[in-house]
Symmetry: D2
Subunit: 367 residues, 4 copies
């Protein structure tokens, strides 16, 4: 299905970096969800580059809701959001068109589209498309919030610097994160991360990181035993966040070295609620939510656009070449990817919930 | 779509641990693929428990091809394989029905199926179902081989012991792996792993590990930029392998600490073929294969069935409980999961290839 | 997705006419639906050929539930039903393998499967496969009945003889139909139909007909405005009933000659329930159910297997030929197709309901 | 999947009658297809109301290609077309909001969307949305033409007046049709139809009709034996054309009264090409194309918007009411629906072809 994801709540994205607009269609949302334009704007702001640690490209990200919203609420019919592209400088890219940027999709786009692709600024592969995901995701996040489901993502690691983990009352941690432009739990770690990003930028280089997400209030009993496991659905979507190269749940890869007795999450009762003492399974057993918070991490590779000389090929001429990148690029995207991660998780969870409980379930008036 | 996966080549699995049989239907395979019963048997043998490092349950895994094969070749219509269950001892499970085994799906199955689930031996959540996946996957592996695509998986880590990585000529490494019951590249590491598995078993405990897969000969230009990225499709399927809690490609999570200049894979020409010097992207750029080997890893958590006392709840009585597990269980499944990983990868790749090149593409006589 | 249909409740069918068995997997059914083996047997009996108006092939249609049922109820996991093939006489077909039977799929199967198809008795294209649909459909019909939804189909026309239309209390009409082997509302019309079928058979010829289905108790508000309209979903599935070449709802094709004032169904209130005076729209407006009975018809073409000499080609030799059919064939299938029509409608409605109201909705205890 | 249709080439539509725009996203089109803006404009013109036989609403149908086209050709990435709504008079509709128009979706929309729907001018249910389908379909029609596949639809019947059937050289007949605003093969029949439409309009009434489509040059071997039959896919899509209540292939419902010997299409050889003498099966056997022209018909019910007094209910007040419709409405839509039928058929065929032959197949330079 390609650029569409979801069985009951489905999102379709379109657009190119230097076309007239990028956009998304979200279909299957329950009717009656309040669409908060201020919150969409907030999410787009979080995604937008800023300060010295980001690309010089500055987009207003004015968005237009084309359909699916009436008198401030979702209608239940397809919701289309458009985000016009304004600050495009196509002349930056034409010269290097067939010089495959290492780590980028220039060469694979050519293999797949045989030269018909819009190569300007990464075309349909550009991180620019994620503005549409962020806008669509904002509506999904609102919908979840209306049912008491909250999610938040922090930069668990960046340029080798670890953030502290989630601790204490998760919902409060999440709430705090959502207002931070550079989403860390430990501000000092954040300071150090930004300093290393700047240092890398000065050397024409880039850095990567790890994003960690927690979801609270997610109902138990959602997900399928095979194929459409909650992990499988979330991972499927998350690999669409540009630069993500790995996804893990709960203890993740570190769990490989634990014994079963250390890894297993003992069940206990808190009142009549079944909980687990630890959460190495990330809130999911057998592909199905168990009522504990969902916990997952994804790795964001270092931004491939660097300003150092790189070996490459000119795939049209069929000869080796040296690449000296021009243009505007981010020395890190992990802090901007955060809101995109939240967005695709929220859209995926809306889909799983609608499948499980029906298309009206998400229209609840909230907690 | 739940227990079905794939858009052009789709696999559906069914069965319970203690029902009459488990099985799979593979639909959309090209006609004319040689179905090698000996190879299916071989794959089922690799999945089967053996020796002192596995459960005492011993299944013959006699399989029956119900449909879709005629005169030794696929017909192109749905291929159904059944594997009867023989060695079932249902009495072992009835007593502990509502004692949620930590790390297992007993409790989430109850949440989802409200008590109607077949709880015997894990029911539809049992690793037993993977015999059907292994059988279906064997046909997919044969189909890929017919087009010169090979894949192999080794136990990159088990109980804290690392195997050596792939090196030298990948296709030869893969070929060697496929005949090994305990799939390591370094036999001494394998010896140490098995010794630690036995040690854990003696203490009533279990261990986990990491599986690493390489795919050679995969055509470039396959996969989609968003949502149906090659990574997303593979990860979606891999989380159906029981106990998998994380999937990463290329440098994976370790890549978070690299700089862009170290991570980027420089392109170069070998004759007229574009290659990359390193392969930190695991053969995939922008969701699309680039012609280099696909490289991925998944983490297999320590087997949740352990024989130590565990805290839990009785979810029918709504009270705390202590669990002392009976029955037959594996102290490790990572070595058995290997063939299941190969299977779901092969099925997923067949689907991606059929979508890209049409339904007949896989029937080529090939190398 | 080919041989799978449905987004939330999905059915997959497999098997060949002369293979070991045909079967179906139904995935996504709510847990806790009573599975009445006697009713499955009843439905298979209705589908089975009988008397002088059917093929001489006589199958016991013993069925085996392989998975998804535990202690007499659905578990919520994939339900696989197998129906072994017993009375197969493959020798009848080998000689005429490449003589394309007019109106049959022999030639198109060859075009699609390039000669690898199992050609014996129609292979995967055989009406035999519908036994699996009938068995799977029986469970869906039970599920719908549990929520007060009833459906029934009569032979509205056969060999030029019309049955009377539905009249009076629809649910009673439906109940009466379901016990009739030759499903007509007017027994005298049925007598005349059977007499014409026998007359056609004596001349080595065959006849067709029209099936009309009514569904009562179907909830309003189900279906989508575009693409997944209730009409579109039902028609999609119904064209899988062999020999169906047209599907119409409400007034159908006859409605082309009405004026809007005659066609429109005026709304009125019966107590607090909104009803329509006429039902030319077949219970569906804008793709969505309106609470009135669903009404639809499909045309079943005359059975293509006739015993008269027919002009054809031998597609392997590439030359013209004359076909004189051997074997066992039905002079009419419209009366047998009835139960298959009910089955695919029931499966499709279960899917639409599960999407709308969630996966648990169909497990209600109901009327 | 609701407002999205297709597995390999998928179309998503969005918009409301009185929102800012309607639009479509087509994903999965091969790269390199020439996008002829003049042809899109032509198709939109054919769909547009005109003269005395149509609604007074006049839209410019200026369209904007937002993505997926670069230098005049498809890129292979999602193609989004927007058509702004200009001539909207929302005041016409507010007063009658909860008076269910008989034959319309007002009431079912309310049942499904619980009052959150945009009710102005039919909202998302408006025929206005088909402008987006016509624009998207124009690209699909061009793509098919590039491979020598042509399709055309005529008004086979309108207001009781029959057009003559296709005869002689089909491709020439199709070519002639495509330039006609009122698509009939017999101009005199067309004259009579228009006269009856005007007569109905004068009486505040409306008429219906039947559209017949022929497709030439479609490759044999496309379609699936079960569920995704070519008939099932086409019918699924066609029921999205507003007012379509029935779809039939080849001889259709009239075939019910034929004998098998009259219905069967004898095969013969023309050179090395296998053809059939008649085409009662509409070019499809067993769900798969046989190389003959595809032939299908769909019935378009009389436009439900009439100006006569109609009995109805006010579903918000819960009381009976009399409806006297205001606003601008068509006394017939069958002539405008023609281009929408062509569009959804073309999109569906592109999907089936891409699944069968791969995503690049449609980019051929062709005739």
């Amino acid at each position: 299905m390609k650029n569409t994801f979801g069985a009951s709540v489905a999102v379709t994205i379109f657009g190119e970096s230097h076309g007239s607009a990028v956009g998304a269609v979200v279909d299957g949302l329950a009717p009656g969800i309040a669409v908060e334009e201020a919150f969409i704007r907030h999410q787009l702001t979080l995604r937008r580059p800023y300060g010295s640690i980001s690309t010089g490209r500055r987009e207003e990200d004015a968005f237009q809701i084309v359909s699916g919203v009436f008198e401030g609420h979702t209608t239940g019919t397809p919701l289309c959001i458009l985000i016009p592209n304004a600050d495009t400088r196509s002349r930056d890219y034409a010269a290097t068109r067939s010089l495959a940027r290492p780590g980028h999709a220039d060469y694979t786009a050519y293999l797949k589209y045989h030269g018909w692709e819009d190569y300007r600024g990464g075309g349909h592969f550009s991180g620019r498309i994620t503005a549409a995901l962020a806008a669509a995701g904002a509506v999904a996040i609102s919908a979840l919030r209306g049912r008491g489901i909250r999610l938040g993502t922090h930069i668990a690691r960046c340029a080798g610097v670890p953030d502290r983990g989630f601790q204490g009352e998760l919902t409060a941690e999440i709430a705090a994160l959502n207002d931070r432009r550079f989403a860390v739990l430990d501000e000092q770690a954040g300071e150090e991360m930004r300093s290393r990003i700047r240092a890398a930028a000065e050397q024409g280089d880039s850095v990567g990181g790890i994003l960690e997400t927690a979801v609270t209030g997610f109902p138990p009993g959602v997900g399928e035993p095979w194929f459409d496991t909650l992990e499988g659905l979330l991972a499927h979507a998350l690999f669409s966040v540009p630069a993500v190269k790995g996804v893990e749940f709960g203890a993740g890869f570190a769990g490989a070295d634990l014994t079963g007795s250390a890894y297993n999450d003992p069940f206990y009762l808190e009142g009549t609620t079944v909980k687990t003492r630890s959460n190495h399974n990330g809130g999911i057993n057998g592909g199905i939510s168990n009522g504990m918070p969902l916990l997952l991490r994804c790795v964001v590779k270092p931004t491939p656009s660097i300003f150092r000389e790189q070996e490459t090929v000119d795939f049209l001429k069929g000869e080796g070449a040296v690449l000296r990148l021009q243009g505007r690029h981010d020395p890190a995207v992990v802090h901007r990817a955060r809101v995109v991660v939240d967005s695709v998780i929220a859209l995926t969870l809306c889909d799983a919930l609608a499948l499980r409980f029906g298309t009206d379930w998400l229209k609840g008036e909230g907690t």
